[in-house]
Amino acid sequence: MSVTVTDKDISPGDLATAFYASNPHGAVTTFAGFVRDFNAQGDVETLHLECYVEMAERVLNDLGAEARRRFDLKSWQIVHRFGSLSSEKPIVFVATSADHRAEAFSACEFVMDTLKTDAPFWKREDSEGDGQWVTVAARDIDRRQRWDTKDPVS
């Protein structure tokens, strides 16, 4: 039951190890998101994540609490990076623990789908002397909306 919003590098492996150690029970799902390899995309050098930190902490805490209630979680953790990230750096780590895997999976996906559009982070792709704000993907909006109507576990 914790949220971390940080401009320091995060280590999903260490985070997963610690989460397993404190929750060796039933089913644990984790998600880790990494900066894509920019080589395929031309001259992008850095991903910059702007963040409204106080609001991000509040939104992510509310989101974790909602996931816990909705999917009967035993435990959860959300860690989100902001600041400048180079290719392949981890951006986000989410872990959920429940008695059964269906709930652990759904909760982890619910948290990821919701934070994509509801947590105050803004991605900018920086190349030499130029920055381009990333726009919201239609698929992210669709994936967010399905949680408004769907049963807790399906």
């Binding site: 998101g33 106080e54 609001m55 986000v92 803004w122 992210d140």
Partner: protein, 84 residues
């Protein structure tokens, strides 16, 4: 009344301002009122704050623009979020 106002991402860039603390005599009752007041700062402000996808938050919660503003509130303006 005193209101802190924050701007993020391309809205921040458009108004060239990260944060303002306003201490004004007029009573501003809603986010819309605050936007009108900020619009007096120039065309760039009017344009940024009428961005079709503009999101506003009061005290770190997303709200509709009819939301009431009270003394001491923190208001923020930003485009759609792209985290994760």
């Amino acid at each position: 009344m005193t209101v802190k106002v924050k701007f993020f991402s391309l809205i921040r860039e458009a108004v060239e301002t990260e944060e303002l603390t306003l201490d004004f005599a007029e009573e501003i009752s809603t986010v819309t009122g605050l936007k009108s007041l900020l619009g007096e700062r120039g065309e760039a402000w009017v344009e940024a704050l009428s961005h079709p996808n503009l999101i506003q938050a009061v005290n770190q919660r997303v709200v509709f623009q009819e939301e009431a503003i009270n003394d001491g509130d923190e208001v923020a303006f930003f485009p759609p979020m792209t985290g994760g």
